[in-house]
Symmetry: C2
Subunit: 195 residues, 2 copies
DNA sequence: CGGTTCCTTGAGGATGATCAACGAGGGTGG
DNA sequence: CCACCCTCGTTGATCATCCTCAAGGAACCG
């Protein structure tokens, strides 16, 4: 959980409902609000000229998203869409900045959050840029699993979603999974992936 | 300029000299210090298993670097190397964190800095991941030029450096530049690139 | 059942990576 | 002034591989 809900409401936060697939904000538009998820799940993504989408991140209940442009006065570098029906608290940019100013420990919280984002972006780009498809997918899965136990883990993403995260095509993802199965790196049980 | 020098010294900062090509810290090691450049230039980069390098960023006089791991208690995701002889102030992690706590406006400064890093990483990955070589190089050059004037700008990077920034190979970079010249997108004057 | 959404397979083609040489310029020292 | 070295740039040929396009199959849900 990011900012305390009562605090958000007292500073002018309002809850908004978004339907599945509804766009919350568009790439290249001005950032006016701080968003924090009460319920649901949000995808941050870019679209390139050919319509291919690249997923930057998913955000879940309790997460905030789209903060950097509020802090540095730039347009959104990505769009945000509701992955399913969502309830989200929205706070005007000015109030958000005031809160940061007012509460150093909240400011510290966001500093740590941003540091973590930078860190994971670097981890990610390092894995993604140079490497072969199997390496990319492995890196993605490892990052998602995050806990280190050896239990097999049911991957909660479709092949298309993984393709969008890794910058690959669905067919490539499917073929890599077949190879990984043959090499005993994953298990496939009626199309479900266990890593 | 990041943190005031007198402040750094009073909190236990010391200046260190690094020779050209000297490593300042290594990937996958523990972060113990805050670094701020007095003189020189630093490259942050990853190496993959085949020895290919990917450049995350360059840092110049006045910049700080390698802060995120200090804040989130993780190992460095990249190595830092002196691009030329450098003078750098080094401050123990604990002092750095104390300063942030003590001076909210410095904390805010780093919050903005991290937000900016996240922003540029997203801009970057969006351009890099999906796109063709020419698109990547264009995106890189545009991001570096940053000021929007139409003046031709002498690109201050070697082809190899651009390759390391974009995840391409030197030969590919060279061939793209040839194509771009033919299309009048750049000028080449005795091997120098004007964009 | 009918409609989605997701998964799978095959064939073909484009394109970057790779490898191997060579060229060009700049600096240094004899 | 020349010889050498070192870094950077250039070119061509070959190859592996991922993308593309097209089609069909499987699972799930109302």
């Amino acid at each position: 959980m990011q900012i305390d809900l009562d605090l958000l409401y007292s500073w002018g936060g309002i809850t908004k409902e978004y339907k599945k697939n509804e766009i919350i904000f568009y790439e290249n538009t001005t950032a006016r609000f701080y968003y924090q998820i009460l319920e649901g799940c949000v995808r941050l993504f870019n679209t390139n000229d050919k319509g291919k989408e690249f997923t930057e991140a998913y955000f879940w209940c309790g997460d905030s998203f789209g903060e950097p442009p509020l802090l540095i006065d730039k347009d959104y570098p990505a769009s945000a869409v509701a992955l399913r029906d969502c309830t989200i608290i929205r706070l005007p940019k000015e109030s958000f900045l005031k809160i940061l100013e007012e509460y150093p420990c909240i400011q510290k919280h966001f500093l740590d959050l941003m540091a973590d984002r930078v860190h994971s972006k670097i981890m990610f780009s390092k894995d993604i840029i140079n490497q072969k498809p199997e390496f990319r997918i492995n890196a993605f899965l490892k990052a998602q699993k995050n806990c280190d136990n050896d239990e097999k883990w049911l991957v909660p993403y479709t092949r298309q979603e993984i393709a969008n995260f890794t910058g690959l095509r669905v067919e490539t993802v499917i073929r890599v999974f077949l190879k990984m199965k043959d090499a005993n790196k994953i298990e496939l049980v009626n199309h479900k992936i266990y890593y």
